[in-house]
């Protein structure tokens, strides 16, 4: 049986990692290559990098980070942020990432998903989703709406419909971030995660709200997630990946226990 994956998420700006609380007030906390190595040695199953570099002329810095990460760790990792074309995808994959993730660029141009899937295979294309609970209404039947720009801009699109459409376009996986839970450390958005995971046949990575190991147990069981993203709870040293895994393992969740 497959193990549930624990995936640290590193936000990178101008080649340095940051962790923001609800996307505001990001502060620098380290070197992405060293942090990736640390999590790799501590049992991370995969690593997600989000490039939040604002200016396009500094994008090359991220490709250099990707190359150095690929020479240092030997587990899969994905890169998102600023990927708008198949050529952007190709550059990141050639630099050594296993997967690329697209978020707002895919909403604005859904063909990006199918083009990426055709060029590199579905397994390379992760759909990042930022989702906000707005309550059910005719154009948002699930009650969950797609948002972009860190949650500031509602898109008038239903999250479940978008997840299913992205799957049919060729997305190989979904990284599902709840804007409501993100940065709170109060737990993942279980009903959203379970809703999406039960209605697509591609793996779902839960994101947003992790604060303690019980939250991961909850989202990987009741939430039906295949993987869980962690950030602050590991970045600031409150928990280690191996501690989280021991907790999950002792609670009957299949995780990778040696590495």
């Amino acid at each position: 049986m497959l193990s549930k994956r624990i995936i640290p998420c590193l936000d990178v700006r101008n080649g340095k990692t940051t962790k923001g609380v609800q996307f505001k007030g990001n502060i620098d906390i380290g070197d992405p290559v060293e942090m990736a190595r640390f999590y790799y040695e501590n049992g991370a199953d995969e690593i997600v990098f989000y490039d939040i570099t604002a200016s396009s002329d500094k994008r090359g810095i991220m490709l250099d980070v990707v190359r150095r990460v690929a020479e240092t760790i030997f587990i899969p990792f994905s890169v998102g942020g600023g990927i708008r074309t198949v050529e952007d995808m190709r550059a990141v994959l050639l630099a050594g990432a296993e997967k690329i993730s697209v978020n707002s660029a895919a909403i604005l141009n859904p063909d990006l998903i199918s083009q990426g899937a055709r060029a590199f295979g579905n397994q390379c294309v992760v759909l990042g989703m930022d989702v906000k609970f707005v309550g059910k209404r005719p154009e948002i039947p699930s009650g969950y709406e797609m948002v972009i720009n860190g949650g500031r801009r509602p898109m008038g699109m239903d999250a479940l419909e978008w997840a299913q459409r992205a799957e049919s376009l060729g997305a190989g996986e979904i990284c599902l971030n709840s804007i409501d839970a993100d940065g709170t450390q109060d737990g993942y958005e279980i009903s959203l995660t379970s809703l999406i995971s039960s209605n697509v046949s591609i793996p779902v990575i839960a994101s947003g709200g992790a604060g303690k190991p019980e939250h991961l147990l909850d989202v990987l069981t009741r939430g039906r997630a295949d993987a869980a993203l962690v950030a602050s709870m590991v970045h600031y040293g409150a928990y280690s990946i191996s501690e989280i895994k021991s907790f999950l393992h002792s609670n009957g969740v299949k995780v990778r226990t040696t590495w």
């Binding site: 497959l2 790799y40 030997f74 587990i75 050639l94 397994q123 990778r256 590495w259």
Partner: protein
């Protein structure tokens, strides 16, 4: 020198990086002569069997692989490479290189786990292998070690004694195949952390019995 065969089937740099990290000279090559001159061969690949076989034939690599196999050069298959060395693949109904007797089959769309829950395809993520026999390339691995898989098809060797390791995902399938100077894994050792690097390192030292 280790030759890593390049045949337009996915990104091969991760395999080269892992072998370089372990300290072995290697070259990613599309030249069949260079492959035949190598001490060892790694045959990786990600993608579909049909287009992969077309490129292999255009490069003369199908013949080079047969020659290398006959000469006893150690060959490591990875992922699609492991499937392509079989006789035939159900994917695109493709006759393959045929070094190992057997067929590559698709996971059935309604495979289920022990609790009856439908399993997602492709089989993507970390899973264990149950060794069926000792093999020098798998020396030093723990039963709890896991490996990174990404695939919707799996090899089904004709002869049970060619199966070195099995993995469970709804069904049991051959995840490691060994036959004379070939060892082949359905998973990606270059993306499987220390156990994967251990396996690659073992391969780089392996002298098959003639």
């Amino acid at each position: 020198m280790i030759a890593i065969i390049d045949y337009d089937a996915g990104n091969l740099t991760s395999v080269a990086r892992a072998v370089t990290y372990l300290g072995y000279e290697n070259v990613v090559t599309r030249d069949a002569r260079q492959v035949l001159a190598a001490e060892r061969i790694i045959f990786p690949g990600v993608g579909a069997a049909g287009s992969a076989m077309t490129s292999l034939k255009q490069l003369g690599m199908d013949i080079a692989l047969h020659d290398a196999f006959q000469r006893g050069i150690p060959i490591l298959g990875i992922c699609l490479g492991t499937q392509i060395i079989m006789k035939y693949s159900e994917e695109n109904e493709t006759p393959c290189v045929g070094l190992v007797p057997g067929t590559v089959r698709a996971f059935s769309p309604d495979i289920r786990d022990a609790d009856g829950a439908r399993l997602k395809i492709p089989h993507m993520g970390w899973n264990r292998i149950e060794l069926q026999q000792e093999h020098p390339v798998l020396a030093g691995l723990k039963p709890s070690d896991e490996f990174y898989f990404v695939h919707g098809y799996y090899p089904d060797p004709l002869h049970a004694d060619h199966i070195v390791g099995k993995t469970r995902y709804g069904i049991e399938f051959a995840s490691v195949i060994g036959y004379r100077n070939i060892i082949a894994t359905q998973f990606h050792p270059e993306k499987s952390g220390h156990p994967g690097l251990n396996l690659l390192d073992n391969f780089c030292h392996w002298t098959p019995n003639r």
